[in-house]
Amino acid sequence: MDTANETAQVRVEGVWKVFGRKTREAKELAEAGATREEIQTATGSVVAVRDVSFHVAAGETFVVMGLSGSGKSTLIRCVSHLVAPTKGTVELCGTELTQADSAKLRQLRRQKMAMVFQHFGLFPHRKVVDNVAYGLEVQGVDRQDRQDRARELLDTVGLEGWGDHYPQQLSGGMQQRVGLARALAVDPEVLFFDEPFSALDPLIRRDMQDELIDLQMKLQRTLVFITHDFAEALKLADRIAIMNDGAFVQVGTPVEILTSPADDYVRAFTQDAPVAKVLQACTLMKPLDGAVIDPGWPRVSSTTPLEAALPHLLGSTSPVVVCDEDGPPVGLLHGDDVAGVISENRP
């Protein structure tokens, strides 16, 4: 964790956001442990985000999962500084946003970050290619260069040939690809995703998730991703933060969350989670540590979901050998560990 802090690209320390007039009273009550309803009746103010801290390392995908009203949308707006936090600091690529003046903030936004929005936020009066080129236009890149770059990115997200349409002529999934291309066009180090796929049909959502994973493998950007979909969080995240009532309940890797939920609130999500589908063989395997491998043991690749490894484990006492993508074995998957996680999942 300490090493992650060293290279953290996003540092959020003790961020609060209170909407309303009596922000100080509201904060004091919240610090004393009052619930959101109590604070609202007492002060008329809404505590949207309470005392949230986290770091995101370069190249990491950090997912904030919470139900509607949990404050996750306000949190990402505090982090990207679309909304100024009431208290606390946000640091991005070594610059403190909370101290930056508007010119500095603008410069950071032009160079370091970009955001993909829930309802796409595309400009209906501009062609797709001009939507993608917007960030560059704002920076003053000349027309030919920004158009070239925009078309290049449209190819990347699989929208070659759609540049001269208007966004509203495209399907929802395609519109969000435009949103993604628009964000990538400025070559940002940090990408914010505000529930980008929640407005899409389930099948299209899955395609978009897969595509984002592929892109992230290639680009290795720092992603802060907001979702209300626990399965989506498990699928995309390096680390997940579960948010409730404005505060983080638990922060951990998908495996940590699934295998040791911090409280009943988190457990409620894990119970319905498709654990055997989400967890991969590599997450539960024990390192080889020089153990002797029986050539008769079945072999699976490290990214195989547990579900696919199950048939090998059932009715057998021997472990499954987990191999790297290139072939060499990297660990052993034992039936007991898998059974443990799955039974934890179904109390």
């Binding site: 603008r106 955001m115 936020g121 400009f123 209906p124």
Partner: protein, 649 residues
């Protein structure tokens, strides 16, 4: 159990609320009756005492004389007003000379091609023919004067209105000042705008233009602000996230998305400007309005009709153009446009160089004589058909003698003036509360102090008769059209057409049938306000949600039960909005009808505009019109609010 009592208590609560509302209303009516009786029995307060006239006219006439004497010497003119006058005058002249440089045939061509492009083939052909007709009836020169005035007015309205709209959107402080000002400005009949500018600038095109700009400004300001406010927040956030500056976001994201709203505002502004430019003939704006005005004064109905037709054509073409620009589908007929647009431009330039700018006299043809013949025939035959006592003449007499005159006498003298003020106050109290009541009382007193009591009651009586006729026709038609899509589709172009006609022009056909007097004004005002009555009634009834219709039907309600018990009460606030609109339109028209012998405040205002020794009285009449309009507007709007069902908690 607890639920049941709760529900019952709630039901009781509702009943007591409506009971007390009814009780308050009965109390108010009772109070009015008692007031009238008391005043009639114990006092002789019939007519507002003349000795209470504060005599505002004299100082205004003095100011007018001073202004005329100092026009060339005082710094107010030399430093401030004259440069404005000169600049505006130069702009109008310049535009007019540019417009006149192009060959005559480029105008029908340009209109035809433009309307074909934005509206389709039929509109194109009609546009071409319509514009050509203006030349054929020999009103070409006058049209250019009107067009130049229109062009500068609309341009100035845009140049002032869009930044003002942006400012109102950006700053709540500005909005707090601008919005009520615009509301008040829209309440006033356009006519009264002329008076103060005549006082300041004398007669001519400049005061005409300034009053036009002020009258027409409201829609573009309002819709610019609305357009900017309704830009989706997420697109603004997206722009911010890319590090756009405020200006960049405004220019690249907000304004383009507000453009349809701004264009809609421009269209409304254009139409308001058109009606005002015509009325501005009263103060020497020239152009087509002047032709109508002169012809009407000498009862040359044919000539007035020709100019009226030219005005209507110009209004419709400008309307179609300004809505067409906003909604154009450039994909259609794009290939034809590719060669037509350059061709028309080339024709325009070549023709201009060749000096083909005069409409050829050989094409002239006047339809005025035929209209005059028809008017003579109508006067001889329709005024009193066969001496039977049936016809437009007896009809006028009937309405005048049975309704307008008695109502005027009732308001002006039979009901003592303190009782009239009392009625106003009680209505205000009932509709909204103490503030409105005090406002109405003060406004009525002010009318009295201006010495305009009797004239205002005359105008009010005409307005009430006009409103009653309009609603008697308009509401049933609106109800029918709300239940019948076919009728609605058939009515739409008719209503659109009548709404496009500048108010002043409506007087022309009416005086052919009814001569001068109060009745043509009332009839013209009915025609003017009918589209609004039908439209808002239809709109209000159509807004009643379908599931409420179905619920009523499922209880076995008949059609008339449904209309009376469910739809009308639910649509009541909208209907009250219809009443409000109708009242304002009728009042505006009744005032203009002062020109054709309508009497009342309008006549006084017209006289003030035309005779320099009557400016003071005209000014007083103008203020009285504004006060009357404000009272009626606030009161009807307050009643509309009252009728709204309580908002969800």
């Amino acid at each position: 159990m607890a639920n049941v009592t709760g529900a019952r208590r709630k039901a009781n609560g509702l009943r007591t609320a409506s009971d007390s509302r009814l009780a308050r209303f009965i109390l108010a009516v009772g109070a009015i009756v008692v007031l009238i009786l008391l005043f009639r029995l114990f006092t002789n307060f019939d007519v507002f005492p003349e000795s209470w006239d504060i005599g505002l006219a004299d100082p205004i006439d003095r100011a007018r004389r001073w202004l005329i004497n100092n026009q060339t010497s005082h710094w107010l003119y030399t430093v401030f007003l004259n440069p404005i006058t000169d600049a505006i005058d130069w702009g109008i002249r310049r535009l007019e000379s540019i417009l006149r440089w192009f060959p005559w045939y480029s105008y029908p061509l340009f209109t035809g091609v433009g309307l074909w492009w934005t509206r389709g083939r039929v509109a194109g052909v009609l546009g071409l023919a319509g514009v050509a007709l203006i030349g054929v009836i020999d009103l070409w020169e006058e049209s250019f004067a009107t067009l130049a005035l229109m062009g500068v007015s609309v341009l100035m309205s845009m140049v002032i209105g869009i930044p003002l709209g942006i400012a109102a959107w950006r700053s709540d402080a500005v909005a707090r000042v601008v919005r009520p000002t615009l509301d008040a400005m829209q309440t006033m009949p356009g006519f009264v705008y002329l008076i103060p500018f005549v006082l300041l600038f004398g007669v001519g095109r400049v005061p005409a233009l300034i009053s036009t700009v002020i009258f027409a400004l409201a829609p573009v300001v309002r819709l610019t602000e609305v357009g900017l406010r309704t830009v989706p927040q997420v697109t603004v956030e997206a722009s911010e996230m890319f590090g756009a500056t405020e200006r960049q976001t405004l220019r690249l994201v907000r304004l383009p998305q507000a453009r349809p709203a701004i264009f809609a505002g421009m269209n409304q502004t254009t139409m308001l400007a058109m009606s005002m430019v015509v009325i501005a003939a009263f103060i020497g704006a020239g152009g087509l309005g002047q032709v109508v005005l002169r012809a009407m004064q000498s009862i040359e109905v044919g000539k007035a009709s020709e100019a009226g037709v030219a005005i209507v054509i110009m209004a419709i073409v400008l309307d179609r153009f300004s809505t067409g620009i906003a909604t154009a589908d450039p994909g259609r007929d794009a290939r034809a446009i590719k060669w037509l647009a350059p061709t028309v431009s080339a024709v325009g330039i070549v023709g201009g160089l060749l000096g083909h700018n005069k409409f050829p006299e050989s094409l002239n043809w006047q339809f005025a004589p035929y209209v005059d013949d028809a008017t003579d025939w109508a006067r001889d035959n329709l005024y009193d058909i066969g001496g039977s006592g049936i016809g437009t003449g007896p009809f006028s007499d009937f309405v005048t003698l049975e309704f307008v005159t008695p109502l005027r006498e009732l308001l002006a003298s039979d009901i003592p003036w303190p009782a009239m003020i009392g009625i106003g106050v009680v209505l205000g109290l009932w509709a909204r509360g103490i503030r409105l009541a005090v406002g109405i009382g003060a406004a009525l007193f002010a009318i009295g102090f201006l010495g305009m009591w009797a004239l205002s009651m005359d105008t009010l009586a005409q307005t009430i008769v006009g409103v009653a006729i309009t609603l008697a026709i308009g509401v049933p038609v609106g109800i029918m059209s709300s239940h019948n899509d076919l009728l609605r589709t058939a009515l739409k172009p008719v209503l659109d057409f009548f709404q496009t006609i500048p108010s002043f022009v409506l007087l022309v056909p009416v005086i052919t049938l009814f001569h001068v007097g109060r009745i043509p004004g009332i009839i013209a005002s009915v025609i003017y306000a009918l589209p609004a009555a039908v439209h808002y009634t239809d709109l209000g009834l159509r807004r009643v949600p379908a599931d409420i219709h179905e619920a009523a039907e499922s209880f076995g309600a008949t059609r008339s039960q449904r209309l009376r018990r469910v739809e009308m009460p639910l649509a009541a606030p909208e209907l009250m909005v219809a009443v409000n609109q109708v009242i304002m339109l009728i009042l505006a028209m009744v005032v203009i009808a002062g020109l054709v012998g309508g009497g009342g405040l309008g006549l006084e205002a017209v006289r003030g505009l035309r005779r320099s020794d009557a400016v003071g009285r005209g000014f007083e009449a103008g203020i009285a019109i504004v006060l009357l309009a404000s009272i009626l507007d606030r009161l009807t709007r307050a009643i509309a609010d009252r009728l709204r069902p309580p908002a969800a908690v």
